[in-house]
């Protein structure tokens, strides 16, 4: 299948390894990945911060750039969910990575091995906006040598929330400190999720407190091919 990749602004400029991993997983499964060069940002940051006109312009730009793409994938449930809410015609065309693999392509085992104890944080927008269901858990359970452990209070927000993390920094920090304590208590060496934005928040706090836990996007785990 030919799949167009929407990398997202953060994925392009801050966490390019997530995009590289996404390409690697899809190509390993025999799919062809394209990258429409005109893409930039879906406009969510502007929309969520009250700059509606700018957000609308960027969303319209997304619709133009991906106009002739039949299937679009993105390693961000937040951007995918937001774009589908604003342009419902994208349902069935725009997928978050785990949705594409499990629901569209019918694959749970992508041929990965990852010998670590992993905890999965269901991000708010993957739960409640993109509503990806159990797709990410099915993928993780099919990874060889991976020990998946439960996260207490898993459904609680990590405190990122876009500009919320700056405007309400104290509250945001209180939230991520609790989230990281819950993660650390599981004894996992890796925390994973479907959104690089939340992982920047969680990873940034883990790094600050010197915790021995890495924050990795699901795509990065799936990219580790079995020997």
């Amino acid at each position: 299948m030919r799949v167009a990749l929407f990398i997202t602004c953060i994925g392009d400029t801050v966490t390019p390894e997530v995009g590289r991993a996404t390409v690697s997983v899809l190509e390993r499964l025999g799919h062809e990945v394209s990258f429409p060069a005109g893409q930039t940002c879906c406009g969510q940051m502007h929309l969520n911060s009250g700059y509606r006109a700018e957000g609308d312009r960027l969303a319209a730009r997304f619709m133009e750039v991906f106009d002739d793409c039949e299937v679009i994938v993105s390693p961000s449930s937040s951007c995918v969910g937001t774009m589908r809410e604003r342009h419902p015609e994208l349902h069935g065309r725009l997928f978050e990575l785990s949705e594409l693999l499990v629901h569209k392509l019918g694959v749970a085992d992508v041929g990965a091995a990852f010998p670590h104890r992993v905890v999965y944080h269901p991000t708010c927008h993957s739960l409640r906006v993109a509503a990806v269901g159990d797709a990410p858990l099915r993928l993780l359970r099919a990874v060889d040598e991976l020990e998946l452990v439960d996260l207490p209070e898993a459904r609680e927000c990590c405190g990122f929330g876009g500009t919320f993390a700056i405007k309400n920094a104290d509250t945001s920090a209180a939230m991520v400190i609790d989230k990281c304590a819950a993660i650390a208590a599981t004894g996992a060496s890796v925390v994973t999720a479907l959104d690089s934005s939340c992982l920047v928040q969680i990873g940034g706090r883990l790094s600050r407190q010197g915790a021995d836990v890495r924050a990795l996007h699901l795509a990065e785990i799936l990219a580790h091919a079995r020997a």
Partner: protein, 464 residues
């Protein structure tokens, strides 16, 4: 009741530093959340009930003029009197005038958010009338000169040791421990005397039926029913959005409300009264229909769904922001997610512009709302209004610059080059630990990932 009008981030900063408050809130919200989840899971048609609740409220708002007139006619046919109040001052003056007519210097009150919203107690006090709160938690706050931090559990920020100490200082006649039963007994003795001597009571209402003129109050303690049955004069202050069309519609809300609020299948006391009954209960009954900003909210197509709220407080209990900051940080009798959309609309966005931003947009509130208020969408709507009013400040310039940079791949490449140059002095071993200006708010508690030395796009271009 006093109100803090500090902006949310500053008020939250203070609240977050209060460790006892954090612990009290964490325990209380976690307990109610678990109870609510349990009893909601028992109801097989919960989603249909929510949809029914939403639809009834939407109908009420669409035909509010008709329903209000029908309600007025039904109340008056039942021997009650209806007054219309455009704002808080008018409503307070009406209550005070009724008290003066009956030469009352003290009245008893049913727990009511609406009368807190309009500052009734202070207005009555200024007119020489003492309004005694009879809900246990409200009484605790009144005795301590404190004010509510939760819609349903106003003293959620207090624990029983604090309450024991307060009672010892104020109303306890005998030694009292921090056993909840003993504490309740102290309050009971104190309140019973007042119930038996009070000649006038004031209530709010959970619901009011347009068809029949019936008023409904839902409570746990029975103190509300003491107020609505013993005194000879009863005044109900009713927000105009509290109507339901028919008596049968109560069936939906009396299922949704207790399960969402206290996590009970059914609340202990549901009082319903229609006009007056000669020889039984109050012989004079007044309803004050209160606007106080509600018609302005109604005029906003996106924001009006905030008027669906049945004050259950489920959104507070699941909110990751509320459950850490508590209610006082919201500076309003309506805290939490619902307060963040209701307060700026009732008061005007210019008086509460920080509230719509007091959310990470996690969506937990929308998920539990028994009448399906899409709180995240209304927050975004109000954020846009707040930004429009505020105009070109530093943040607006940054947002405009970002929008420009995202306008095309060349612009983005330029912005990326500039960003890499700007961040260079701050990157240490692959992380940014300290930044100046507004971004210090991030780095004070978290490291920041720097911009990548090779963007995805650069990698892709080199690859092919």
């Amino acid at each position: 009741m006093s109100e803090s009008r500090q902006a949310f981030p500053a008020a939250a900063h203070e609240a977050l530093a209060d460790r006892r408050l954090r612990a009290n809130l964490r325990n209380a919200t976690a307990t109610i959340r678990a109870k609510r989840d349990g009893v909601v899971a028992e109801v097989p048609d919960w989603e249909q009930l929510r949809e029914a609740g939403r639809a009834i409220k939407a109908d009420v708002l669409a035909r509010l003029d008709e329903y209000l007139l029908a309600f007025e006619a039904a109340v008056e046919a039942g021997g009650g009197r209806v007054h219309w109040a455009a704002d808080a001052a008018e409503a307070n003056a009406l209550v005070l005038a009724i008290a003066r007519t009956h030469e009352v210097s003290e009245l008893v009150k049913v727990k009511s958010l609406t009368t807190d919203e309009i500052g009734l107690n202070a207005a009555l006090a200024a007119g020489g009338v003492h309004a005694l709160e009879t809900d246990l938690a409200e009484l605790i706050l009144q005795l301590d000169g404190d004010w509510s931090s939760h819609i349903l559990v106003p003293a959620i920020h207090r624990n029983r040791t604090e309450i024991r100490d307060l009672f010892r200082r104020t109303i306890a006649q005998e030694p009292v421990s921090d056993d909840p039963r003993e504490l309740a007994e102290v309050a009971r003795r104190y309140l019973r005397e007042r119930f038996l001597t009070a000649r006038m009571a004031v209530s709010g209402a959970n619901f009011a039926v347009a068809e029949t003129g019936t008023v409904c109050v839902v409570e746990s303690e029975g103190n509300g029913r003491m107020c609505t049955t013993l005194p000879s004069v009863l005044v109900t202050v009713l927000g105009i959005e509290k109507l339901v069309p028919t008596f049968t519609d109560l069936e939906v809300f009396l299922q949704l409300l207790p399960r969402s609020s206290t996590g009970e299948r059914m609340n202990p006391y549901t009082s319903l009264w229609t006009g007056i009954t000669p020889g039984d209960g109050p012989q004079e009954f007044h309803v004050i229909l209160l606007d106080a900003g509600r018609t302005r909210v109604l005029a906003d197509e996106v924001g009006r769904q905030a008027l669906h709220c049945i004050r259950c407080s489920a959104c507070l209990n699941v909110c990751p922001v509320y459950s850490r900051t508590g209610g006082h940080a919201y500076g309003s009798v309506y805290p939490g997610p619902i307060g963040a959309i209701l307060t700026p609309q009732l008061r005007g966005i210019e008086h509460a512009a920080s509230l719509p931003f007091a959310s990470s947009l996690c969506g937990a509130c929308y998920e539990v709302c028994p009448v399906k208020i899409d709180i995240p969408s209304v927050l975004l709507h109000l954020r846009a209004k707040a930004v429009q009013r505020r105009g070109g400040r530093g943040e607006a310039l940054v947002m405009k610059a970002a929008a420009w940079a995202f306008g095309g791949r060349r612009r983005l490449a330029t912005a990326l080059r500039l960003g890499r140059l700007a961040q260079r002095p701050f990157v240490r071993r692959g992380a940014i630990r300290r930044l100046p200006g507004p971004l210090a708010a991030w780095t004070s508690t978290r490291d920041l990932r720097p911009l990548a030395s090779e963007s995805f796009r650069e990698w892709w271009d080199h690859r092919t």
